[in-house]
């Protein structure tokens, strides 16, 4: 398995065809989480698996040109902050985590049950969890891939880099 140039042409072409659909399906599962089975966590993992597929097929340098680990971490953190801000906005209706846009409250923006913009803050939380989980998982996978490749290329001049805990210094 060549780390730097990815896998074979067949895998690359299949990834080129499929990864976009996987990402769209992840977003769909998260956005309709309040209507059908699914939700932000499952959708986030599906979206992250699209990124993981790109890392596996094209190698880490190509995927770092698309999105770097730092950017993934930024998505992760900002979605966490958005979740807490959304929970704090519940004080508009009386308390932490109160669904201030649901069917019975005066700020309600929802249509009838079963439409996409029903459910008040539930779809917004799903969206935040989608970005959070996708950013976190894909970023950690990219960091793992980058770590392994880094250890291999530095192998000549820095044979065994000591890390506390002994995590992963024996690639070569």
């Amino acid at each position: 398995m060549n780390q730097h140039h990815g896998m074979t042409l067949i895998v690359k072409n299949t990834t080129r065809l499929v990864s976009g659909f996987i990402a769209v399906f992840g977003v769909y599962v998260a956005l309709t989480g309040h209507l059908s089975p699914g939700g932000g966590f499952a959708g986030g993992v599906i979206l992250a698996s699209a990124g993981i597929l790109v890392v596996l097929a094209f190698g880490r340098e190509f995927s770092q040109r698309l999105v770097t680990e730092t950017q993934y971490h930024l998505y992760d953190s900002s979605a966490m902050a958005a979740m807490i801000i959304l929970a704090l906005l519940g004080y508009l209706a009386g308390g932490f985590f109160v669904n201030f846009m649901n069917a019975t409250s005066p700020q309600s923006v929802g249509e009838s049950v079963g439409r996409l913009n029903s459910g008040g803050t539930i779809p917004l939380f799903n969206l935040a969890i989608l970005v959070k989980v996708a950013g976190g998982l894909a970023g950690v996978f990219l960091a793992l891939a980058a770590f392994r490749a880094g250890g291999r290329s530095q192998g000549a001049d820095a044979p065994s880099v000591a890390l506390p805990g002994g995590a992963g210094e024996k690639e070569d």
């Binding site: 398995m1 599962v29 989480g33 309040h34 209507l35 059908s36 089975p37 699914g38 939700g39 966590f41 499952a42 993992v45 599906i46 992250a48 698996s49 993981i52 596996l56 680990e69 971490h73 992760d76 953190s77 966490m80 979740m83 929970a87 985590f97 669904n99 649901n102 069917a103 019975t104 309600s108 929802g110 049950v113 079963g114 029903s118 459910g119 008040g120 803050t121 539930i122 939380f125 799903n126 969890i129 959070k132 989980v133 976190g136 998982l137 970023g139 950690v140 996978f141 960091a143 793992l144 980058a146 770590f147 880094g150 001049d157 880099v161 890390l163 805990g165 995590a167 024996k170 690639e171």
Partner: protein, 189 residues
Amino acid sequence: MGMELFILMLIAFMLAASLIAIETRDLLSSVIAMGAVGFALSVIDLLAGAPDLAITQVVVEVVSLILLVRVVTAREETQPVPSDALRTAVTLLAGGIFLAVAFFAFGGAGGGATVPPFGQPVLTSANPGVSADYLARTAEQTGASNVVMAIVLDYRAYDTLGEATVIFVSILGAYAILRRVGRRKEARA
């Protein structure tokens, strides 16, 4: 009853696969047996009427299997754990405690409180019946038609916040271990 039998067969499969995962010497076989356990669990979720859980279980299992296979194929070092008397004693003790707890939980001593029968969880059979209340009032109170999401993100959103915090902290920890800045500094020194 037929479905219960199928679930029991799946549980037997999961037990066999987890024994293989523990006992095999080859790390890759162990990881794949772990994956088999997870996929069987997702089928059980689907049969028991929990499609939300089944979707999440399948997806997480796929991603974790990819990660573990990648990690395992990168390094081949297996150290078989030598079995000694203490280890065997602890295993037997844990098995005995489990059997005793299961005996009392299923009413073996003729006591009152037991595990409710399959298909009748506590929340439906207990006196206030909060489960029926969720089913009846979710649509008018939250406007969501998926009751599971309404419970997870509205009625018990604190739980979800805690879960999200756990994921966030574990990912922060992974970044801290895997960061490249510290590695470069140590390599130069």
